[in-house]
């Protein structure tokens, strides 16, 4: 279960939304129109277990998410879910990696402070002895044109 976001953590004017996560529970979130730009030259890396629970996060992942490491490890990756992201994108992500294939996509992520950041994410299943044991996601800086296209596309999807 993910707790609701805390209004006291939000910086500046915000909107409110309720996300339905893994079709089971809902989470109240607050988000602003402030973008945090992708850190130049870096890779944001995390690993999850087979259910999407974060098991490893590199320092820049923690910094960009705005949470403490403890608030991230052991929690579902949907802690970064932004309301502007269409759920079909994540359905496609899970279908793809569960088939043992690599997924790539442009993702808008929500920070603890309500700001957002865009990434180009690549997610792969980690196969050991023929079985998927975990998933790794590596994000890099997306191009301006790729983000613009995604903004347009995601508005048409739900």
């Amino acid at each position: 279960m993910l707790e609701d976001m805390n209004v006291d953590d939000i910086v500046g004017d915000y909107k409110e939304a309720t996300l339905k996560l893994y079709n089971l529970h809902s989470r109240k979130i607050f988000y602003t129109e402030t973008e945090v730009s992708y850190p130049e030259g870096k890779l944001i890396v995390s690993t999850t277990d087979t259910k999407g629970v974060i098991t490893h996060a590199n320092p820049i992942f923690v910094e960009m998410a705005g949470y403490t490491r403890d608030e991230l490890i052991g929690h579902n990756h949907s802690i970064l879910r932004h309301p502007d992201m269409p759920s079909v994108a994540f359905k496609d992500l899970w279908n793809t990696v569960n088939e043992g294939r690599k997924w790539e996509g442009i993702v808008k992520n929500l920070r603890k402070d309500g700001c957002y950041y865009w990434v180009k994410a690549t997610v792969i299943p980690n196969v050991r002895n023929g079985e998927i044991v975990s998933y790794t996601s590596v994000r890099r800086k997306p191009s301006v044109s790729a983000v613009d296209e995604s903004i347009k596309l995601y508005k048409t999807l739900t």
């Binding site: 890779l43 590596v138 044109s145």
Partner: protein, 251 residues
């Protein structure tokens, strides 16, 4: 038959003597008979490795992944405080001062170093540049890459950051860094072939403890290394996963 030891051809030439000193020390401390085998190019090295010519290697992450996965090599150690980062640089006289100034039809000068090229292409993707809209030329050494940038034959060069930093100050003054990566996850590694598998723990302990005695320290100094860090099997697996996300799909 002696064991064959090879190191990535991207080492700076002045550390060559260091590797010979290391090999002498290593043989003495393991009792193994080892011949140091150096190749002039990545191409030659790859062919030799593929023909099972070497069972001790010091290689870049891309080659390490191939050797561990396809050839059953095992991780030993990596060099302390030595990560594989890249520098993308242009001539000091180039009006471009930021990555976003780089445009399609860019002429890139590079070496055959596979991890430098992989990381660089990933960084260039952020400004909409990719294999289909850049012109790449591969040269034998970083100094030739520099010459081509300065002659105007290439717009930008791709460097292993350590190799860039080791260029002389006179050369560096004529260049301008557009971007230095800060990936912090990729490194060269020393690996052993499967036939040496039963020596893995022993060799790891031996290398990690080099800093504990004056002779070991002297050998490390000759290599310009601060020391070795053990690579756990799981760390190696993690680097393999990471490389998998970074290499473009070939299919």
């Amino acid at each position: 038959m002696p064991h064959m030891f090879t190191i990535s051809p991207d080492f700076p030439p002045n550390s060559l003597a260091g590797w010979y000193i290391f090999n002498t020390w290593f043989q003495k401390n393991t009792g193994l008979n080892i011949h140091l085998n150096l190749y002039n190019s990545f191409e030659e090295q790859t062919i030799a490795i593929d023909n099972n010519k070497n069972d001790i290697v010091y290689v870049n992450p891309v080659d390490a992944v191939r050797l561990v996965r396809d050839k059953g090599f095992l991780p030993i150690a990596r060099v302390k405080n030595r990560l594989d980062e890249v520098v993308i640089a242009v001539s000091e006289e180039n009006p471009i001062s930021m990555m976003c100034g780089l445009k399609p039809d860019l002429k890139l000068a590079m070496t055959a170093n596979p991890d430098v090229n992989m990381i660089s292409m990933m960084l260039l993707e952020a400004v909409d540049l990719n294999n289909s809209n850049v012109v790449k030329t591969t040269y034998d050494s970083y100094i030739i890459v520099v010459k081509n940038i300065l002659k105007g034959e290439a717009d930008a060069g791709l460097f292993l950051a350590k190799a860039y930093d080791d260029l002389s100050n006179v050369v560096k003054k004529q260049l301008k860094i557009l971007l230095r990566s800060d990936v912090e996850e990729l490194y060269h590694s020393l690996l052993i072939g499967p036939e040496l598998a039963d020596r893995q723990d022993e060799i790891q302990t031996l290398l990690v403890s080099m800093t504990d005695n004056p002779v070991g320290k002297g050998v490390l100094e000759a290599l310009d290394f601060e020391g070795w860090l053990k690579i756990e099997n799981e760390e190696m697996e993690f680097m393999i996963d990471l490389i998998d996300t970074l290499v473009p799909d070939t299919d």
